[in-house]
Subunit: 459 residues, 2 copies
């Protein structure tokens, strides 16, 4: 608590009473996400209940130049939540109201603590859904802040395309509204897109307006096995190149299928696998399926195994969403280290081949999975957090994967964000544009109190 | 030429020789777009040929604090090109090379002076197309800078969704690259989206990487007549709400049909009209058509009139793209004044009804057209530029349309941009977020040399 002015803590404690906590357990819980990255504890945690409360916390912290770190569901994978310079963790999980839904306009406004599963449960009876689905049951505020995507992005886009408007508490406590409910606008700088992916370094998102979609008339899901990863990936690439509007197209390697079967009680064939979902009218879905089956056969894929019922479909995708936890469960006590490169689709086969070569010499269990329709894939390593040599080995593999991705026109992170974990690659990927990012950061947050130490190298 | 240091003009003239011009005719041509907005002539025009040349011009102008205004095809509708504080117009029309196309990744990189028609002619033999299509044959750089859209946006999105990466000359002459060729990324602030729609006020775009699409297997186009605009609009709203993935859905009112028939030699029924295009597999297109026909019949629409051949389709959409010119041709010597509001789709019917009431008392010829699937519509007024009373009358109508759009959650401009024409509405639409835009502008362009007087009120 050394950096904190005791009078600030006293003020916050007095104001927020039992919603203020500086106990070690609560601070520990808020100092990390779900990955191997080292925790760094905030000095205190406040459970906020409104935009005005968030603004008040930020105003007080700004007056004392104390860092503020927004916290949603705690499912970050790149160290976003570590209070690397201490400060106040603002827990937004109690701001979990769906504020409005418009069935007519296919949009809604939610508080940032609403989780993706909560939102979809809320929407289901209205015949609507929100497609962006990272593996974890993340909060919508966190998903906006990391520019998250997931299995449906190949068809529906990412948070970049699906956030219409935001309410944001700025670093001086001012509250602004970005965007509008119009589907498109040319009215000035795209502030919405500036905050989407800013990881809380420019302000704290306290309301999010999202695009929604009608639940498709027909949904079909199937898995398809291949002898080799290359065959699976080449099939996926051809589906993309032919513009077939698949809703989901997910690669799971043999090792992951084994882990998922064990963790989620499935009986999928333990082979290299593509899992598909098709959305549309009955005729449209039939047409997509026929085309994809033909492509798959050309690449020696086996016959589709269908998830026949909605229950079977839900089980399949829930298992896919829990792939990270399944991979870790293979090694008791392990932490996860997830790579997250994204490359132009034509480079995907080479990138995955390269990753598999790197993995051949790796001591830790590792599985490969990917949103292959986007050119995005992950290696999930189940690491022993106390084994420095193993951590270094994986760091070296990760670095080589990232370097190759950047070299072929890709990015160091497709969906997990930069946090502390990828900051070292920002200059390699963006060159001098990193200076522009830093200039924007300084202009908006001159005292660097908003989630410091994230995104920008040396920040 | 009073604001210019003569030594700067001498340097530029010496360096660019015959590609430098300070003749009145060339300056006049570069001081305005295609609308009623008053021209303001630059002190000189330079026809740039490379990113390095643009950087050199900007460096020299920055040293003398002289404004720089980028110029593409000159088709702006909101006064973007007016050199309101003098300076140098950088004409990018000779930077018109398609630098690369990847059929495998469905993307390309072009120079900013490439026009949308030029790009699509280039792509056609490869079986690809770029869908964003403002009415004019605009340049890709200009389209990126105004966050343009067009008739296909309901299906394919706008420039916001379809620009992957940019090369930008910054206000100090530095050249940066934003984004990558990956379809998605969470690697830091979304600089690409910051420059898309910035109207040249933050830098000059000198290369654009775009998403492309395969030409659909099946394309069908049809027009449908209605007795009333309300029936047409309500049909369009239902198509959107049911999520039918129409590629185009354009409203043209009776008056516009009359103008278009005369201008483009068509024989469309002179009624309130929706024009549709359907893209997809044969079965998918049939399914979409069946659903849309049913919706249209429920709203007393007449039978579809089909554009049977590709030639007929091209003629239909070319006529639609030239609607602005057709509307002006009704009144010899007229200039165009185009409103451009965009509202949530559920508010569209009310907004158009309101606009029609306002038009009832208007002296100038006016037609209504709209990208109704996006909630975006225009009134094109054919104004007598010398008639002050008429200009004031239209300004008052425009203001009421904008105010209503903002009040119902919409925006003052769906696709034309802010320029000088909408700057007065920025605070009403964005509130205090305008201050954030101004802060970003100051941080990036502290001397305000990049297209000053645009977007930000009082800038």
């Amino acid at each position: 608590m050394d950096i904190l002015n005791p009078s600030l803590l006293d003020k916050l404690r007095a104001h927020f009473a039992e919603r203020f906590s500086a106990t070690p357990a609560v601070r520990e819980q808020h100092g990390h996400g779900e990955s191997h990255h080292e925790a760094a504890l905030p000095d205190a945690v406040i459970f906020a209940q409104s935009t005005e409360e968030v603004a008040e916390i930020v105003r007080l912290c700004a007056a004392h130049r104390v860092p503020v770190i927004p916290f949603g569901a705690g499912t970050s994978l790149e160290g976003h939540l570590a209070a690397v310079r201490g400060g106040i963790s603002v827990d937004l999980s109690r701001m979990n109201q769906v504020l409005r839904v418009s069935e007519a306009d296919l949009d809604c406004t939610v508080q940032p603590g609403v989780t993706r599963e909560q939102l979809n449960q809320y929407l289901h009876d209205k015949g609507l859904f929100f497609p962006i689905d990272p593996g974890a049951n993340a909060s919508i505020g966190g998903m906006a802040s990391t520019r998250a995507s997931g299995t449906n992005a190949v068809r529906y886009g990412t948070m970049r395309e699906n956030v219409l408007a935001l309410t944001v508490v700025m670093p001086d406590g001012q509250v602004i509204h970005t965007g509008s409910r119009a589907r498109k606008s040319s009215a000035g700088y795209d502030l919405t897109r500036l905050f989407v992916g800013a990881e809380g370094t420019l302000g704290i998102i306290t309301e999010v307006t999202l695009r929604l979609y009608g639940i498709p008339e027909t949904i079909s899901a199937a898995v398809c096995s291949f002898e080799s990863v290359e065959q699976a990936v080449d099939s996926a690439i051809m589906v993309v190149q032919l513009g077939i509007p698949v809703a989901r197209m997910e690669l799971m390697d043999r090792g992951l299928i084994r882990a998922v079967n064990a963790y989620s009680g499935l009986t999928l064939a333990e082979e290299e696998t593509l899992a598909f979902e098709f959305h549309g009218s009955p005729a449209g879905v039939q047409g997509q399926i026929a085309m994809v089956q033909e492509i798959v056969r050309e690449h020696q894929g086996k016959d589709f195994t269908w998830a026949q019922t909605q229950e079977e479909r839900n089980k399949l995708w829930e298992a896919r969403h829990k792939a990270y936890y399944a991979a870790l469960a293979q090694r008791p006590g392990a932490k996860g280290w997830t790579s997250d490169v994204c490359v132009p689709v034509s480079e995907l086969s080479g990138a995955i081949h390269h990753a598999r070569e790197l993995l051949a010499g790796c001591g830790a269990p590792a599985v490969i999975l990917g949103h292959v329709g986007d050119g995005n894939f992950h290696v999930v390593f189940a690491v022993d957090p106390g084994n420095t040599q193993e951590l270094e080995e994986i760091a070296a593999i990760n670095k080589q994967m990232v370097r190759r991705a950047i070299a072929v026109g890709g990015t160091c992170t497709g969906e997990h964000g930069v946090g502390t974990g990828k900051a070292a690659y920002m200059r390699e990927e963006h060159g001098e544009a990193v200076e522009l990012m830093a200039r924007i950061k300084r202009a908006i947050d001159p005292d660097n109190i908003m989630n410091p130490g994230k995104i920008l190298p040396g920040n």
